[in-house]
Symmetry: C2
Subunit: 497 residues, 2 copies
């Protein structure tokens, strides 16, 4: 029989890949930010079939240079201002490398105690670092704790599912056939991320994005935050109609404009309406800023919430995927998620003295993701993370000043943290539709230049959904010169589109 290959022989090649990556990061600033690849260009460059025999590293490196690199949109580029940042950093890369190299599975405590307990401690470290109340930590030993999930989408789905189970239990409905139960209803702001409605679809609470029979998108106030009075009215209306409100998702920094819902006002609205809802806060992007005390205003009332999540993989120098999901009611989460076949039973779990993270989310298998958080926190220190956040906020404030001083632009909403929304000022006689079209042409001209990448959204301006450009500043390498260059580009192009 042919001998099996040595799986780890190539460990000696790590330095080769490391050198390639170092060259990549050294030359990154000179590359076009947004890929110019045509559809199918990469597909066409790749063979139809996997190779029968092993290939050498030379051909792999050549393909990386000639096929992969030109077809990347460079998220770590200093002139990447699109969506939200997706911070990578060398300490996180090293932590991920350790995780890959160890190759352990943390589904149960027993399958690698360090994987579980380092994660528990990292969740507590980060909770304290952003000023979350102790009820969300293991340390307080009050039934709460955190877990690393892949994305905020998955965290929202987990929270919604736990909320449903808890509501059914509390209302004594578990023995009632589903068709005879009151409709369970969930609430989020009309500006909430699409993942809330997607979670409702997957959880069987909505047939599709347009199905609002059990999903209420609460209107927003002028600052685009959820209107607590409207929430209260909707809760009362649903209760009066015999429906069962069970879940409210507040957003701490919406994706469109970084608007912040108010946890305290939302909790009070539920209380006044007599609605016993699971309150979840989606702070995917915004909550990272709370490593700096001056931004903790957003947390007011969070102690009245049941769960909260945020993504160090956005703005906290930690590679994707790393969503931190905290709950004060882990018993309800585990109750909703747990199922124990014989082949997963073991002495440690049965002792009840350990955390088995498989019961905290959808997947069973899980990587040792705490390592990257550990390395990030130890190599940058909290001081370094604060400097990173403050740099993004300062640079965005700098851009705001430049834009506000130029009459060819308007800033339709107050800048929030590191997100500035802007659009060209309307020309005399220009219709709103024409202005929208010109705004999108400006976006395309900037992105096609290769010198920056930004995206757009729509948001209500003067009673109408209008197109605005979003500039999110937070790549780890972005410095003042890159923001100044973006402004030069905006000025150059705004009159030409």
């Amino acid at each position: 029989m042919e001998p099996a290959p040595d799986p780890f022989a190539d460990l000696a090649q790590i330095q080769r890949i490391a050198s390639w990556l170092e060259r990549y990061h050294e030359t990154l600033g000179g590359r076009p930010v947004c890929s110019r690849a045509r559809p199918s260009e990469v597909l066409d460059a790749l063979p139809d079939e996997a190779p029968e025999e092993p290939e050498g590293f030379e051909s792999i490196e050549r393909d990386l240079d000639t096929i992969v690199l030109p077809a990347l949109t460079h998220w770590q580029h200093p002139s990447f201002f699109a969506f939200f940042p997706a911070n990578a950093s060398a300490p996180a890369i090293l932590g991920d490398l350790l995780s890959s190299g160890l190759g352990v599975q943390g589904m149960l405590w027993q399958t690698s105690p360090a994987c579980t307990e380092l994660e528990m401690r990292m969740c507590d470290w980060m909770a304290r670092a952003i000023g979350l109340p102790g009820v969300f930590t293991f340390e307080a030993d009050a039934g709460g704790g955190g877990v690393i999930q892949g994305t905020a989408s998955e965290a929202t789905l987990s929270a919604m599912h736990a909320a449903r189970r808890r509501a059914l239990v509390r209302a004594g409905l578990l023995t009632t056939p589903r068709s005879r139960r009151p409709d369970l209803v969930l609430y989020a702001s009309a500006q909430a991320h699409s993942s809330v409605v997607k979670a409702a679809m997957i959880a069987g609470l909505a047939d599709g994005p347009e199905d609002t029979s059990q999903v209420r998108l609460v209107p927003v106030r002028e600052d685009l935050s959820m209107d607590p009075e409207r929430l209260e009215a909707m809760l009362r209306e649903d209760i009066d109609a015999g429906r069962l409100p069970f879940f409210v998702c507040a957003t701490l920094g919406t994706t469109g404009t970084l608007a912040f819902d108010e946890p305290d006002a939302i909790a009070s609205a539920c209380e006044r309406a007599g609605a016993d809802c699971w309150l979840h806060a989606d702070g995917a992007h915004g909550l990272s800023a709370c490593v700096c005390e001056e931004h903790r205003w957003m947390l007011r009332g969070i102690d009245r919430f049941d769960s909260v999540c945020f993504n160090p993989h956005k703005w906290l120098l930690t590679n994707f995927d790393c969503d931190l999901f905290y709950t004060r009611d882990r018993a309800s989460l585990i109750d909703a998620m747990s199922i124990t076949p014989e082949y997963l039973r073991n002495r440690a779990s049965e002792s009840q003295g350990v955390v088995d993270y498989r019961d905290w989310h959808v997947p069973l298998g899980r990587r040792f993701r705490a390592l990257k958080l550990w390395l990030v926190l130890r190599r940058f220190g909290l001081r370094g993370l604060r400097a990173h956040i403050r740099s993004g906020v300062e640079l965005c404030a700098h851009l705001e000043r430049l834009v506000r001083e130029d009459p060819r632009f308007t800033v339709p909403f107050a800048r929030r943290l590191n997100l500035l929304c802007l659009r060209p000022a309307a020309r005399a006689g220009e219709s709103p539709d024409d202005l929208d079209a010109r705004t999108l042409r400006l976006r395309d001209a900037i992105n096609d230049s290769g010198r920056a990448y930004l995206t757009h959204t729509s948001a209500p301006i003067d009673g109408r959904d209008a197109i605005v450009l979003r500039v999110a500043i937070g790549a780890g390498t972005t410095r003042r010169e890159h923001v100044d260059a973006l402004f030069e580009l905006l000025r150059d192009l705004v009159d030409r589109v």
Copy 2:
């Protein structure tokens, strides 16, 4: 203002971590396989708070050696025989390192075309490598294709959700209020993985593991495969009662005993019952074996299925996470998953000429996971992967011969591929319960020895659920000497427990 830290300065430290990993793998065989850590041992060794100032690599390496390593269960150990293998390999580690180092997001084609198109091609490469019909590939251009998901649990949830939406559309039920719809019902074998029922819970089709109102666990035949006649009868009964069967999950290699359901027989059962179900095959572990033609018997009838998944991260030298999920009906999958807020709109997506993988699963953000498959396939070649699979099967057959020759053991089920189930032979007068207890004591004695790690399951023997030990052989470094050593250990300990 304090300057932001340079995020990539530590790239120069990669060699340091690489050397640490090389030492780890060189010394791995001498470590106890299963961790001996006490609960809280790691927690107690870690500070309560994140450091304020950056720390040096010396202290990090010291903590890796003294806190993390002793509390790992070593999944890459050559004497790891528990659960199923979770193969790591250096090419996959290098691919993951590239993915971390590039730090791109593949949620949309535009956000890195190479991330999407390399993934499409890798899915096609693997489909061809395991002999899947062309309808599951992009190449055939017949509406099918594959995607990398995190785990089979997530793939099952995705398939179930797509199935529900398609069934509602086909039955014209989308405009019928949920409370007035017929109950949708899903089917899997009683030996199916717990993730099927967990997916039903999350999808809102079951309140908990015990709720069988919309979940049917089909009894198995003597070989522990789903009984197609029982499936047909259950389908008919549900249809006659006015319910709507919508989803059948076949398992290609159950977790307990690696039993194989028969796709062809299952499709025929549905056809005979007149049930228009989405047919999904969960081949998480077993399907990897199909890189060798001699194991493709399990695929008979798979061309009648709607989706199929398997995990190269189990037995195909590819690091977690890497589940390949294929469907012949990507339109229904996308229809069930898609939701497009303004901030994700872009020219490429609107051209309809590209694949946006965000619509193929639950999460929005996604890593460049195709890189690790690419490196695995190119560095080992298909020939290397076949040798790896054949080695696991051969070693398991070798163990089976040893065990069958020893009268102190029995082999209650035929060995399948690389999984052997065994237990001690009953002693004169020993009750079934006592034998179960002794079997678990044998498991504990082996695992406590540190010289091997195996797990158990329960399976029907003589009309009763009995405890059996599972030996899954497939770690990349396992060789004949390790299997012989396991047999010695079994022989030594069986009389002492």
